[in-house]
């Protein structure tokens, strides 16, 4: 059975369009529209290019698709409208089913987790009139939604509103607030706006503006919030202590509210494994607290937990309903395949000189060890917001000023934000307070002594790192690279940040990698088996 999950463009403010294809229970392709149309978050876009990519990857046509699934059960005209644009762009429209937004989120986490049963929580800003849901997931009975949270009580909107107040972009820059939080004291009482209560959490909607027609660039806060907290920070202004304290208080409020919600979910389900999805689940600092809760013995966070994960959740949900046996999903490398010919063609079009290397992992490791900033483009792209070794910029985390170097030459981003490490799984237990593999950078763990001082460029001010553990079975290529780095530096880790320029999506195609390489201060680029360097370029 061929099941296509899609998301995006139903309302003009929808973001993170994408598509996922499952054939006979096997995930074939997941890709986000932003990667293909080169517009971050692809707000308002229909998932046309991502659907086309899924079809190409599988060799199927739209006529072969048995069912299209999308999230948005409360949109009355969503099915006829979708049918029309599918016909327009693909010549035909299969049967279309709509499911609830949060059901899709929960499915994306639970069916990806490999767990037999779990308490499942979706938390985001809003979708289908809800800001979250609690469910029990079971491989026998599927997903059973136990409770939903109305959209006017929204943890996601609370955090986005505070993001807007702090002069960052809501819906996108929340991670900056999270990164800023450890620099401040959580001394500001925000309980007037949001607080944990026995039923979970309570957010007072009068402190944010109605989002009905507004764009994400307009301020989210209402005047009442300014009456409470004073003037908001203007974008680009220096970040004074008070704003750091507000960031810290925002993060603490989110964390205590989430803990309250998870505690409640545990009481309802008595399950010790936790599956999380929805945009709020991107908060890797809060995830650490949930992971450390005494009654939680396993945590799976959907790597694409924001709306980027909806197409996958839709397809997985339908696959289960249809009785398909869902095959394990061991990684996130489900982007469109690139052939070596495409790489060669891109190099030839650009006209730059490239050297074929026998063993890119060894050569890259050498360069990383000596302090180079290396572009690493290998295999199929990752789905979700994190580059996990297929579209990554890599560097040596033991070099003290590496963070500043990358910020000054490549990423041009705020200095307070940390970079994340990718670490050999078997070594990670010595280096982090971690009990299970964490292959998707979804949780920030405490870094153990002395690694916190060794990995200077990937340890945040609060002594945490959003680690990716890399095992040799799942990604031998990337594993080898880190292993080689270890032999040079003694530290089994690389700094790993996404292969893109600020404000742009992660590179998808070889030519984009080449242009981004030259449009930044990266030193060398490994693209498949080819090495590009700047001083060797014959220009």
């Amino acid at each position: 059975m061929n099941i296509l999950g899609i998301h995006g463009g139903v309302t003009i403010n929808q973001h993170d369009a994408g598509a996922a294809l499952i054939v006979d229970g096997k995930l074939i392709c997941v890709v986000e529209e932003e990667r293909l149309i080169r517009i971050k978050t692809a707000t308002g876009a229909l998932p046309i290019e991502s659907i086309a990519a899924c079809l190409r990857e599988s060799g199927l046509t739209m006529q072969d698709i048995d069912v299209v699934v999308l999230a948005g059960e409360t949109y009355e005209d969503i099915i006829p409208r979708t049918a029309e644009w599918l016909k327009h762009h693909f010549g035909t429209s299969p049967r279309i089913e709509k499911i609830n937004h949060h059901t899709a989120h929960i499915a994306s986490a639970f069916y990806h987790s490999g767990l037999d049963s779990a308490m499942c929580i979706s938390v985001d800003a809003y979708g289908d009139g809800l800001s979250g849901a609690i469910a029990i997931g079971s491989l026998q009975t599927g997903i059973n939604i136990l409770e939903t949270i109305p959209a006017n009580n929204s943890l996601g909107v609370f955090y986005s509103t505070m993001t807007s107040f702090l002069g960052f972009r809501p819906g996108e820059d929340e991670y900056k607030v999270m990164g800023l939080a450890p620099y401040g004291n959580p001394s500001i009482d925000l309980s007037f706006f949001c607080k944990p209560v026995p039923e979970g959490f309570f957010c007072d909607p009068k402190f944010f503006r109605s989002r009905k027609s507004a764009t994400s660039l307009e301020p989210y806060y209402s005047k009442l919030l300014l009456d409470q907290l004073g003037n908001p920070r203007r974008k680009g202004d220096p970040i004074s202590e008070i704003f750091k304290d507000i960031a810290a208080s925002t993060q603490l409020t989110l964390e205590t509210s989430l803990v309250s919600l998870v505690t409640k979910a545990f009481k309802m389900t008595n399950e010790k494994a936790l599956c999380l999805a929805g945009g709020v689940a991107l908060n890797c600092s809060a995830n650490r607290l949930l992971y450390n809760l005494p009654f939680v013995n396993e945590l799976f966070v959907q790597p694409a937990s924001s709306d980027r994960g909806l197409p996958l959740g839709c397809a997985l949900f339908m696959a289960f309903i249809c009785g398909e046996k869902i095959e394990p999903i061991p990684h996130v490398f489900y982007g469109p395949s690139q052939s070596p010919k495409e790489i060669e063609s891109a190099i030839s079009i650009s006209g730059v000189s490239a050297t074929k290397v026998e063993n890119p992992a060894i050569e890259a490791a050498k360069r990383i060890a000596t302090g180079e900033i290396v572009g690493w483009f290998q295999g199929r792209s990752e789905f979700g917001p994190r580059a996990l070794g297929h579209r990554s910029i890599l560097a040596n985390p033991t070099i003290a000023n590496m963070k500043d170097q990358i910020n000054a030459k490549v990423k041009f981003r705020e200095e307070f934000r940390p970079f994340a490490p990718s670490v050999l799984e078997e070594d990670s237990y010595d280096m982090f307070e971690i009990k299970n593999p964490s292959p998707y950078m979804t949780v920030a763990y405490n870094v153990k002594n002395p690694w916190n001082t060794i990995m200077k460029s990937t340890t945040h001010v609060n002594n945490t790192g959003r680690v990716q553990t890399v095992d040799s079975a799942t990604d031998p290529h990337f594993y080898n690279l880190i292993n080689e780095v270890k032999s040079f530096t003694g530290c089994p880790a690389v700094l790993n940040t996404s292969f893109n320029i600020k404000g742009q999506p992660i590179v998808e195609k070889p030519l984009e990698a080449i242009s981004t390489f030259y449009g930044t201060g990266m030193d060398s680029l490994f693209i498949g088996n080819y090495l590009l360097t700047k001083n060797k370029t014959k220009i």
């Binding site: 463009g9 764009t215 203007r234 650009s350 742009q504 030259y518 449009g519 930044t520 001083n535």
Partner: protein
Amino acid sequence: MNKLNSKSVVMGLMTAMTNNQHDSAACFVLNGETLGCYEEERYVRYKHAYGHLPIQAISAGLKAHNLDIRDISIVAIPTLKHVDLVPRTRLFLEHYFGYSPKIYPVNHQVSHMASAFFPSDFEEAMLISADGQGDYESLALGVGKRGTLQSGSGIKVLETKGIDQSLGIFYQTLTQYLGFSGAGDEYKVMGLSAYGNPGAVDLSSIIKVATTDYLINPEFLKRDPMPRNIGEPRFGSSLLAEFGPARLKGSPLTQKNRDFARAIQDNFENAFISTVRRLHEMTGIRRIGLAGGCALNCLANMKLLDLPFIEDVFIQPASTDQGSALGAALIASFDLGIEPKTIENYYLGSSYTDNEILKSLKVSGVKYEFCDNVAFQAAKALQDNRIIAVYNGRSEFGPRALGNRSILANPINVNIKNEINQKIKFREEFRPFAPAVLGEKCGEIFNSKTISKFMTITSKVSEDWRSKIPGIVHVDGTARPQAVWKKDNESFYNIVFEFHKLTQVPVVINTSFNVMGEPIVETPLDAIKTFFGSGLDDLFIGNYHLTKNRD
């Protein structure tokens, strides 16, 4: 309204506050003089910047003109009827800039008309604004007259048409039917139309054109439920019942598709001409200014220029909604008692100093060399059939690169179009590239009353030149030239001049410096990035030269 004081500036904003609004921009007018116009798409790197507030555009303008937000006396927005845009604009200005000047809403179509009149050198002109829709209108006819500050007339609207008679939606919807995007692919249909047979497809069920008016049957151009997204088709079953299935994007183009494109273009032109004729009958004026998205149709513009009763045509180069921000600012200036001045050139965007260029070259770490004779080196490279990019000074306002952010190539080379398409632009082979021509040589090469400095009007290439410059002649014998004058852009003029000296051809291919789907490059790093991310051979950036060795 209060008179302006000497420091106060009018800022026009296209705010694009819904995701279906596009081309957000900020324009700055001081004492009637247009200081600068900044398009958000260039900074956010997202073509047309759908749904993006002009935050970076405002910042760029304030910085470039050394202004504080409090120096702005009035913010003009080209929207009168969407009343919530006034408080929303005020709120976002306060949020990002800490202060909001007074917001002054101007009718959308009037804003377009103002952008087509005040910047021209006409004393008096017929004016037409034609687009998809704006302020619930799709067409406005009027007259502009200078020296009318006392009477307060300036621009007089004579007639408007509603959305159901929209020529923009007519063209856009049928563009979708032909399998192209409704978000700006109309120019592809225009390019394709030259390959179609006139009269082969009858569109009279959709549009009827008489001598001085047209009538659209809107039933063919809408559907139920209403599409809310630019990717959804606007048309419904009635159009399919009448004309058969729509072309699937990417499928091969048939002769029937080409004939259909021809019918769209011909009917559009005829409807446009009939409208001009009516306006001329009403006013007796022989000059005309055009703006609104429909004014991008350079082929129709040529037909207007051919009309016996038309002496001259001015097309606002930024004729889509970024230009409405300019027009609104000009109206506000007029209403404040200062008549806006002519705009000589549209190099109105940001510029970057030599130091900034050098810094970017160093960040990238690429090899470059200082070049003290860019014009000659560039011309020589062109003669050698290298495809080059030039980057200089302030960026262009509007969709056309006019020599400051341009890709240039040798039009003598028969294969050049394919080469540019395969290595850089990756676009449909049926679309022509445009020439930049030494101003004083235009008369020899083109048969036309006037040659635009801004690539807004197609012209017939004279018979004896067609075979000499095959790279820029479209299948119908036309081209969309830019007349390059020394006084407007000396460094660009010098390149074409040197190329002329080397080859006896005063023409180079000029296409915008970007890759498919991206806006024109803005910063030096954008330029370096695009140079290496495409098959360009040389980049001349300020006084620096980057080159790729081709084996």
